[in-house]
């Protein structure tokens, strides 16, 4: 349990202004907008380190005293991942570690601290003629945290899951682990692989449960010489998804999503009133596509893309390219309007990975579940983002329904929808949950077999005292 003695110890590390046990300071950390699913819990102490060395010292003390540590980079994950599960936890607020340590235009890499936001790095990178792979998340979020959780990516459809090259991780006992080429003597951090296993992958998709990532080197991409943006509308889900694999196999798009009508509207609306006004003004499904590269290649690819669309679409369904609204293009460079997803109250998103060919089945199931929970069918949305070029099937999926966490009746609706849909998704078959957090994990933990057991064992090995954000993947074991 964090206490006055710990306050003194932490003050000696970070200084008196960067640590607090005062209730009103801690209240801000006790919940996020996902509180109907992850109960509020006030931490016992909050500490704001400014260097890796300070993080190491804090973890050594926490480990020795067996006090849980909840790392928070920017606190924008909105899924309760940074809300403590145990009383008296240490909130490790990393927002002051917000430096871009290097932008290397020769190696096309950036090295960043956890408090660096997507928007911050994107703007800095573009000033130097390159760009990051933008996650489908607010530009205010931590890029490091998003990449560690394998967020979904707006802008590189063919390589949509992994842009991390190497990381520096403080383990629970305070030891420092460097991965990839950074671990090799006299080697810079610009390559993911070294002589041994890929440790970055081992630590990814663990929400602060395997250590504290204090530095990350990520891939940058060139700003395209030329780009074409267009949207293609479809009346049916089947036709919308039919165009995706051939486009992906041919490595045509850099951006390629399947968006239901209301998701498009949410991305471009400037007010709640506009949300309603724009209903019915877009096709049932829209596939936004971006093609980038040298002008001649872009034009050739665009012709090829149109051929594919023509071959796979009926005239009735659509398939006619239209230019996207200007805000929509901006959104894929520096996400901002995505914050407007909160306009309808709270933002519920059930996110997972799965194959594109199951989209119709997922969608039908979700609309049924939504209706059973009390939602009009049209309020249940499911978007898909293809993320792998090689088979064009792997997608990030996000189911969205509105609710207000201030209105108990809508909280009950969303819960009913959420828990039933989790079960049904497992029945239909998915690749896995995005950003594991407790409820989705709990319904599959006993079905993971040796994979789950080994995962647990690795966590135990890395964090024998179980201090790292306990309860966010595996349930807390009773003492």
């Amino acid at each position: 349990m964090a206490d006055e003695a710990m306050l003194k110890e932490f003050e000696a590390i970070v200084g008196p202004d960067r640590v607090s046990i005062e209730g009103p300071v801690l209240i801000a950390y006790e919940r996020d907008q996902h509180w109907p699913f992850v109960a509020p819990m006030r931490p016992g102490i909050v500490v704001q380190p400014t260097s890796t060395e300070e993080v190491q010292q804090i973890l050594r003390i926490a480990n020795e005293k067996k006090i849980p540590v909840v790392p928070m980079s920017r606190g924008v994950n909105v899924r309760g991942l940074c809300v403590p599960e145990k009383e008296g936890s240490i909130m490790l607020d990393l927002r002051l570690m917000n430096h871009i340590l290097e932008i290397n235009t020769e190696m096309m890499t950036a090295t960043i601290e956890p408090g660096v936001t997507h928007g911050q790095l994107q703007i800095a990178a573009r000033e130097q003629g390159c760009r990051i792979c933008i996650p489908g998340a607010p530009a205010t979020g931590s890029l490091l945290a998003n990449y560690m959780l394998r967020g979904v990516y707006h802008s590189i459809a063919g390589d949509g899951v992994d842009h991390v090259l190497s990381a520096e991780i403080v383990l629970a006992n305070g030891e420092l682990l460097k991965t990839g080429s950074a671990s090799f003597p006299n080697s810079p951090p610009h390559w993911r692989y070294t002589s041994g296993p890929d440790f970055v992958g081992l630590f990814q998709s663990n929400p602060g449960t395997m250590g504290v990532c204090t530095k990350m080197t990520v891939k940058l991409y060139p700003i395209a010489e030329h780009e074409i943006w267009f949207m293609v509308g479809f009346d049916t889900i089947e036709e919308a998804i039919s165009v995706i694999p051939p486009l992906m196999w041919a490595q045509i798009p850099t951006v390629c999503w399947v968006l239901p009508q209301f998701t498009v509207i949410k991305l471009i609306a400037k007010s709640t009133k506009e949300l309603d006004r724009l209903r019915g003004t877009f096709p049932e499904f829209t596939v936004p596509i971006t093609i980038e590269g040298p002008k001649e290649i872009v034009e050739a690819k665009a012709r090829y893309a149109q051929d594919i669309i023509n071959k796979t679409c009926t005239p009735k369904s659509g398939g006619k390219p239209i230019p996207p609204p200007s805000n929509f293009v901006k959104e894929f460079m520096y996400p901002r309007n995505i914050l407007g997803f909160l306009r309808q109250g709270s933002y519920h998103a059930l996110a997972y990975w799965g194959p594109l060919n199951k989209y119709p089945e997922y969608y039908a199931m979700m609309r049924d579940n939504g209706e059973a929970a009390g939602y009009p069918r049209e309020q249940v949305d499911l978007l898909a983002a293809p993320v792998a070029g090689f088979h064009g099937q792997a997608c990030y999926y996000e189911a969205e329904v509105p609710y207000s966490s201030a209105k108990p009746e809508t909280v009950e609706m969303v819960k009913k929808f959420h828990f039933q849909t989790l079960k049904d998704l497992v029945k239909i078959g998915i690749y896995g949950w995005f950003r594991p957090f407790q409820h989705p994990m709990q319904i599959v933990l006993d079905q993971l077999g040796a994979y789950g057991e080994l995962w647990k064992s690795i966590m135990k090995l890395v964090d024998p005292n179980g201090i790292m954000n306990p309860g966010k993947v595996f349930p807390i074991e009773k003492e």
């Binding site: 202004d17 960067r18 607090s20 005062e22 209730g23 009103p24 300071v25 801690l26 209240i27 801000a28 950390y29 006790e30 919940r31 996020d32 907008q33 909050v46 704001q48 920017r74 606190g75 924008v76 909105v78 607020d93 927002r95 002051l96 936001t117 928007g119 911050q120 703007i123 800095a124 607010p138 530009a139 205010t140 979020g141 400037k270 007010s271 709640t272 901006k330 520096y334 901002r336 309007n337 914050l339 407007g340 909160l342 306009r343 109250g345 709270s346 933002y347 207000s404 966490s405 201030a406 209105k407």
Partner: protein, 402 residues
């Protein structure tokens, strides 16, 4: 009457639904194409509680009775360490349509209602206003001691100049410039004399609503009794208070209110303001929150951004170099919301940040249109020993008039 002032309960649902998206912590990156923190309080103090999100959580916690007696002093320290500049609200309004300025002011009012009291410096201001009608504790009878003898005041005029406490007692050059300009432009005006009390802004911004209501009633009554049709202000804070707060307290004012830059901008358009004397200077302009963002946030939505700039650009020889953080995305001077009185270092640090930015424009003169911004920005210039001069837009206009 005070029922129309927002209550904390009015925002309960919005507070519960705060998405912790942090959109309130950064200026509009689409507009600026830069990533710049917008919250002076968050930047200074660091913890989440010092951002709008955190204060919203504190508001919720207060309503849900989560605040323990031992937490009250820390609660007050956090809630009052905010200049209520509205930078967060401009951002949040775009997505959540939530007014953090209103929430924070309602939260402060709730703290006072609950009897927790404000910070000692604020209590002193309340006492001063009660005793001598100004927050500085200066004699009420000295309120117009600055008025130059050669200035013509017309007690029958339909226009009144409301001076405000800071110009009356601390930044008198600004008030002198205002009345001289009106005289030179041939605009008959009157002053309220001993009937002018503090506008109540320091009270409303810090949660002391009851005395503010009494003051508002007094000032409005005094203006109505004189048959005044229009009141003009050189203080952004007084202007905001009359325009946005008074109607919630007294209903329809029965007279127009304008910031003096609006008034003079109209004179300029009508050819009645002659700016003929060249001033070969490079200036940059700081947007006061109370006549910019706070007005944008109102139902009228149009802040006073263009008027002072048009006036400056009309001065022959003057070059206006803009800072990056301007208009809705302006960095606060750091003085407002009771910060200057209770958190002097915080106020100064925020102003120093602005001074640094002003210097990068190559400007010799930092210009603004608010005596309270003037005070704090001049303190920062002095502290930094920068080769930069502060002037109110009125001082430059007066210099440029023959």
């Amino acid at each position: 009457m005070s029922e129309k002032l927002d209550k904390l309960e009015d925002y309960k649902d919005q507070m519960i639904n705060c998405g912790h998206c942090a959109g309130c912590s950064v200026f509009n990156w689409w507009t600026l194409n830069k990533w710049i923190a917008c919250c002076p309080s968050g930047k200074k103090f660091g913890f989440l509680s010092y951002y709008a999100t955190g204060r919203v959580e504190l508001g919720r916690a207060l309503l849900e009775e989560e605040i323990e007696p031992q937490d009250i002093e820390a609660l007050k320290r956090i809630v009052y360490a905010c200049p209520v500049c509205g930078a967060c609200t401009i951002q949040c309004k775009e997505f959540k349509e939530m007014d953090n300025v209103a929430v924070i002011e309602a939260l402060r009012a709730r703290i006072i209602e609950l009897g927790f009291g404000a910070l000692p410096e604020h209590e002193k201001i309340v006492e001063n206003i009660a005793n001598v009608n100004n927050p500085y504790g200066e004699p009420h009878e000295a309120r117009f001691s600055w008025l130059p003898e050669d200035v013509q005041v017309d007690n029958q005029a339909e226009i009144a100049y409301f001076v405000g406490c800071t110009s009356a007692y601390r930044e008198q050059e600004l008030a002198k410039a205002a009345v001289k300009i009106l005289n030179k432009a041939g605009i008959p005006f009157q002053i309220l004399g001993s009937d002018e009390f503090c506008c109540g802004s320091p009270l409303l911004r810090t949660g002391f609503r009851e005395p503010a209501i009494e003051i508002a009633k007094h000032n409005v009554e005094a203006i109505r009794n004189r048959g005044i049709k229009k009141v003009i202000f050189s203080c952004a804070g007084c202007y905001r208070t009359f325009r946005e707060d008074y109607p919630k307290i007294v209903g329809d004012l029965g007279f127009e209110v304008e910031h003096i830059t609006q008034f003079l901008d109209n004179l300029l358009k009508e050819g009645k303001l002659k700016l003929e004397k060249p001033l070969n200077v490079v200036v940059t302009y700081h947007d006061p929150c109370h006549m910019g963002r706070h007005i944008v946030l109102s139902k009228r939505k149009v802040g006073i951004f263009d008027e002072p700039r048009r006036l400056l650009k009309a001065i022959p020889g003057l070059t206006l170099n803009e800072m990056v953080r301007i208009r809705e995305n302006a960095w606060c001077c750091g003085a407002g919301g009771g910060v200057k009185s209770a958190f002097k270092n915080f106020a100064l640090d925020t102003a120093l940040d602005r001074i640094e930015e002003a210097v990068t424009t190559g400007a010799e003169i930092l210009v603004s249109a608010c005596p309270f911004c003037r005070r704090n920005l001049m303190d920062a210039i002095k502290a930094k020993s920068e080769n930069l001069v502060y002037k109110d837009v009125l001082e430059l206009l007066e210099e440029a008039m023959e």
